[in-house]
């Protein structure tokens, strides 16, 4: 059963990664990042049960906290950028280049 959970986790992670790569809307990209984090959490929880200790659950908990903080700051940044550029596309923010 553990294998199934882990494969599901890997699949969700890969889907999230592809989403990060192909979507241009910054908010959707952010959601995909959250999806990847959740996939990781699933793996942690699965490993916690597999090994019979709570370390995995603890770290999943901390990941959630950090993800919450990250979402707050990230969305604030998106709002700020949107306010000045009237766009939430990650491709529009490309001034720092060659």
């Amino acid at each position: 059963m553990t294998t199934h959970y882990l494969v599901l986790s890997a699949l969700l992670f890969a889907i999230g990664a592809v989403g990060v790569l192909v979507r241009r809307n910054a908010i959707v990209v952010f959601m995909c990042v959250e999806l990847m984090l959740n996939a990781c959490n699933l793996a942690f929880v699965t490993f916690a049960r597999q090994h019979g200790n709570l370390q995995g659950q603890i770290i999943a908990f901390f990941v959630m906290i950090v993800a919450a903080a990250e979402v707050v700051v990230g969305l604030a940044i998106i709002v700020t950028i949107f306010r000045t550029r009237r766009s939430a596309s990650v491709d529009d923010v490309n001034l720092l280049k060659y």
Binding site: L21, K97, Y98
Partner: protein
Amino acid sequence: MEPAEIVQHSGGVIGVSWLMIVLPLVGAAVLLLGGRRTDRWGHFLGVAMSLASFVVAVLVFFELLGLGADQRRRLVELYDFLPAGTLDVKMGLLLDPLSISFALLITGVGSLIHIYSIGYMAHDPDRRRFFAYLNLFIAAMLLLVLADNYLGLYVGWEGVGLASYLLIGFWQHKPSAAAAAKKAFIVNRVGDMGLALGIFVIFTTFGTVAFGPVFAHASQASQGTLTLIGLALLLGACGKSAQLPLQSWLLDAMEGPTPVSALIHAATMVTAGVYLVVRSGAIFEGAPTAQLVVTIVGVATLLAGAIIGTAKDDIKKALAGSTMSQIGYMMLAAGLGPVGYAFAIAHLIAHGFFKASMFLGAGSVMHAMNDEVDMRKYGGLASVMKITWITFGLGYLAIIGFPLLSGYWTKDGIIETAMHHNPILGWLAVIGAGITGFYMSRLFFMTFHGRPRWDKDAHPHESPAVMTWPLIILSVGSVFGGAFLITGNRFMLFLSPAVGRPAELPSFAPFSVTGLVTLALVAVGVVYAWLRYGRSEVPAVAPRGSLLTVFARRDLYGDALNEALFMRPGQWLTRLAVFFDNRGVDGLVNGLAALIGGTSGRLRRVQTGFVRSYALSIFFGAALLVGAWFVVGNL
């Protein structure tokens, strides 16, 4: 007999003999630094300094005479010039018969030229600067002959080179003058390199550059070393004295004002090479090969100069050719040992008088003819310029060796000695004397006799007294100087403390075969010149002439040879170096930079600014890591 011991000296006029050098140097400094304020009296200061130097020289001369013959080499220590480890050069002055003879000639004839220049340069706005350079020239030349070591000599040597550069290029607004000055300077550099190398070898061999110790130990050095030193010094002498193969600058040096030509040719500069060879006699005597080369160079130059002199229409260039030739005689004599030394220096002094007289006479003629130098536009000047004609004539007779005049005594001595030494050299010298008779007569007749061929606006007139008096004084020297020096071997005995005394003194034989043949040849030359240029009409435009004439007109193709042998390969070498530098060195560096720059230019396109591109690279990397981990884990 060996030369006398060098004795330390203090006190007396000899003790302050450095004034000879310092006075003209001060004059030059005042005139150069004083600027326009000194314009009004600058030339008087120059003449005064030169004359003062001459007075000191005369006093030193008499004080030397007052000492015993074997006491006449006095060393005056001045200061520690270069205390640098093993090379500890103490600057001092060596007062002996050789150096004082030169000093008298330099200051005496130099002073006359100074006086003459007052008149000659009267209308030149830069007369003050001219006198400053003249003084500098005198000072440098005096340092050259009076220094008691090779390094001091070298300083004077370079000073002479500098002063000659400044004076030849005095009218630097003329491109030809600027080019001539540069040429003289560069050709002299070649010779200077030889002298410098010679001094280096002297220092490594003897551990010192002072004359006394070097000559004292010369006999202990190996013959090869001495030959090397001798040849190196000869190269230096060739450069300064315009001997083959470094003769090419002398003819171009006529671009300078005529008094400069007189100074360079008669009293200073070109005599420096002869001085160097005679002074280094102890070294040359240990190196017969070097001595032989000296004589060969001398003979070759005396013939080359004479041949060049026959073809020149420019009065100054013809005289320059004769200078080359006469210096060639001196050089020949300087390669013949102690007897030759005396004759070389005697001829040098006599030559100083008559050549200065003729150059200044030529200047007087040019002065009268609106600075025209082409002899084909002279003719018949004898009637309008009596004093110049007479003084020039006396100089002319002296140089061709007219019996009892200066040149007769000294040149005959050289020819006799050469004949005694090696008949081939002797006969070549005799032939040279014959050619001298021809080309000097040609010059004299074309200038002063025949029908006038003047330009329409030329109004020849005698020069002012300030110019004629030096001529008169010089012509006295050119008439009696030789006889005074040679009869009874007076000069040879006087000089013997400095250069050594020959085993047997030569006796003067006026009616020897050699002397008679020489006279006959000279007479033939004079008569032929009279027929060609005195009696018959001289064409106003130079005829095309034979192959030999063209050869001589072109300075024996010396310039062409220099260009083909040195200048063109040098240019090619430079171009090659530039090409190598541009394409090779720079190409490598620039290519590397371009490579990096180009690569970076392409590589930076990766930085698109799109976050998603970067994320893709990161994700690809992560996938690769997983793959690698998978592979490694399954090994």
